[in-house]
Structures are given as C-alpha cells and as structure tokens.
Symmetry: C2
Subunit: 229 residues, 2 copies
C-alpha cells in the first residue's frame, strides 16, 4: 500500500489554495497538512529548502518519495500524472498562455496586491510575523484596480482566462482573488465580466472547501462564500 | 514565408540569457531584439503587459502571432515545439525537479543575489534606473554562499543539476551565475564541484555568445570567459 499523497499548505496562502483547487478539479485525493514555515517544529526545510508553500509529497511509479514545489510545478505534475478532465490547453500556444497567466498571479499579483496587506494581516493573525509600519492601503487599491482592469480585458475577449475553456490559469486567479475577497478588497460592482467569471468559479464544487475556510479573529466579507453576489 | 522568430532581451538580463542558451542548445534560430523596458520607444507593453524580459514572439502553426513570457514558459514552449536533443527529463518526477530548479534561479537566486547588486549596477550603467542607497555587499555575499552551498549539495549527488543529464535547469543556473561572475562575485575556489560543473557549461558552444557580451564601462572578471579557471 502506498503512503497517502500529502500537500503541505496553509488555508489562507493563495498558492496553497491554487493547488487545492487543482487537486479537487482533477479528483485527486491528498492529505492536507497545515504547515507554518517559521514554526521551529515544521520540517518544511527537508521537503523544500526554499521554505515556501505549497509542497506536494508523492510516491511516483518510478519509486522513491518526491517533494514538488512551487505551485506551478505541482500543477504541471498533477496534470501530467493524473487522468480526469484536462486543465491545460491542447496546443503549445495555449499552454504558453496558461503558463504566462499562472506566473502572473503567482508572482505579479501576489507581490503587487496580496503581499501588501492581505499576507501581512494573515501573518499578524497567525503570529508568524509582526508588521509595524502602516498598511499601504492606497497603493494596494491602485494595484488591485490595475490588475482587475487587465483580467477584465482578457475576459472581454475570452470565456475563460486563457481561452475558451477552464484551465489552471482560472484556478490560480480564483485562488489569489479569493484571499483578497475574504478581506473585502475586491470592488466587484465596477467589474461585471470579472464578477460573472468569479460567480461561475464560486459555483464549482472545487471552490467549496476554500469558501468554507475561516480565519480566527477576522470576519469574512458578507458575500465571500455566496455565488450570487 | 513566415516572419522570423524574435526574442526581446537585454544582454545582461539573467532570464534573457537563460532563453538565449535554450535557443542555442536546441539549434533554434531567433532574431535578438535588445529592448529596454523603461525606454519610452519600447513597445514591450504590447507584447508583455508585465513589462518583464525576455519575451519570445513566434508564429505557431495554428496561426497568428503569439508573445510568450516569462522565461519558464518560453523554455517549455521551445522544448515542446522544437526537435533536437531533449532539455527536459523523460519522467514527470524529473520534470518536476527541473521546474523546481528553474523557479529557484528565476525567482529565489535572482531576488536574493542578483537583484541586490548586479542588477543595480547594470541599471546604473544603462541609465535605466538610479540607485542612491549603499550596495548591500555583505548581505549579497552571504546569500551567494548559501546558494552556492545548496547547488554544491545537489552536484555532490548528481552529474547535472536536475539529474544525470543536462536540462534547462543547468541553463537557468548558468545564466544567472554568469551575470554575477562577470562582476567577479562568485568565489569559485571554495566550491570545486560547482566550478567543475561551470567549466563544463562554459565549454559548450551555447555559452560562447554570452561569454562574449561586454558591458560598457565595466571590465569583466579576468576568468569570465575562460573555461579553464
């Protein structure tokens, strides 16, 4: 009997949410192991010396145990090794566009939007790090609107982010937006195409566990888990 | 007749060098178009709204013109669409390890080592940005040694970075190290396995154009282009 596939994650880490969505969409079972990178009892460094989440621990048919990170590499690995509906486009051009958008959310949106306030508040709540300087609220809001404008530009031309069907790019985008949305930072009424797309995402079964997550001491925005908003 | 494949790049941008190496190893011709992101005459934003380099512009058999970024997505696209020797491992586990290492150099090494001093000096030389605070030399050297220790740890166990043959992970590593090495920031004598690996990399034909690059006003380290060092 092979050991259970395990995902080292944190419930409010956007990149971890991205992979929970990929696993759920593919119907791949995995044990979720909540892991705080700075906890001295964590053995994260053994599985990922870069100390980032998420990490997927798996036992491939070729033998041994492997630990995969970061999220982009995990998504490709699950797509390559698991059956079920394809989450990557069939053409190389489509896959290139999907990978561009994964990097967009994992790197650009994360550093320009979520890192400014949302990640700090989560750190503060979990007591993993204490931030003393004031929250750059105006800078975050400005970056958020720039990003929502860009996603809307794509959604005016395409039914899904990378083309005419759902791909891992939609899952990456929904994961990153969902964390900002918990704090009420996404001005949905100003972005109708985007809101329609997110309503479609929220009504998927894969989103349910994520919309059920609650952070101690922080109340979710009223519409957070409601697909009609 | 199809238009020439074009790479928007800068000669001393580590991520651009990574893709020049991938193109050269695969024997794929491409026009190199030097592009400065902050130049008002640059039309980079049309091809990549994230405003990062490199960008590969191609005309796929499915029609139209596509613009691919960032470097990781370009490497996958070239590997998928071009013949020649494989630069990705044959197993999903091997590919996952290769992608982990690409992200390591493109994100972690770049932000923790090259961004601190090397990228600033290049910006200053090209007058694309002016930095006024002092160079964090100690911090950069400490991070460099941590990274060289980690690469050495891998090379004690493997002939190449991701396993028993050359992959795109080696090209990403060589690209990022080559820029630091131009400035003389890599303490090779303390890292023999690493130096042996880099000597093998430097003797490859794909490295020759990169080792011939010169930055106006900055003399290359004496051993920069010498495979025996």
């Amino acid at each position: 009997m092979s050991a259970m596939r395990t995902l080292l994650h944190m419930p409010f880490d956007p990149s971890s949410r991205f992979i929970r969505l990929v696993l759920a969409e593919k119907g791949v079972p995995a044990r979720l192991a909540e892991t705080r990178p700075h906890d001295p009892d964590s053995d994260l460094t053994r599985f990922n010396p870069a100390m980032t989440l998420p990490v997927l621990i798996d036992e491939p048919p070729t033998g041994g145990e492997i630990a995969i990170s970061p999220a982009g590499a995990i998504a490709e690995y699950i797509e390559e090794t698991q059956g079920g509906g394809a989450l990557m486009p069939a053409t190389s051009a489509g896959r290139a566009e999907t990978r561009r958008l994964i990097a967009w959310f994992e790197s650009k949106f994360d550093s320009e939007v979520n890192a400014l306030i949302v990640r700090r508040r989560i750190d503060g709540q979990l007591k993993t790090h204490r931030w003393n300087d004031p929250e750059p609220i105006g800078k975050m809001q400005q970056a958020m609107i720039w990003h929502l404008d860009y996603i809307s530009y794509l959604l005016e031309r395409r039914q899904w982010l990378a083309g005419d069907r759902l791909t891992v790019a939609d899952l990456a985008a929904a994961a990153h937006l969902s964390v900002s949305d918990y704090f009420g930072f996404v001005p949905w009424p100003d972005f109708r195409d985007l809101r329609d797309w997110y309503a479609r995402m929220k009504s998927r079964a894969s989103m349910r566990p994520i919309l059920a997550d609650r952070l101690d001491g922080v109340t979710a925005a009223a519409h957070y888990s409601n697909p009609d908003f």
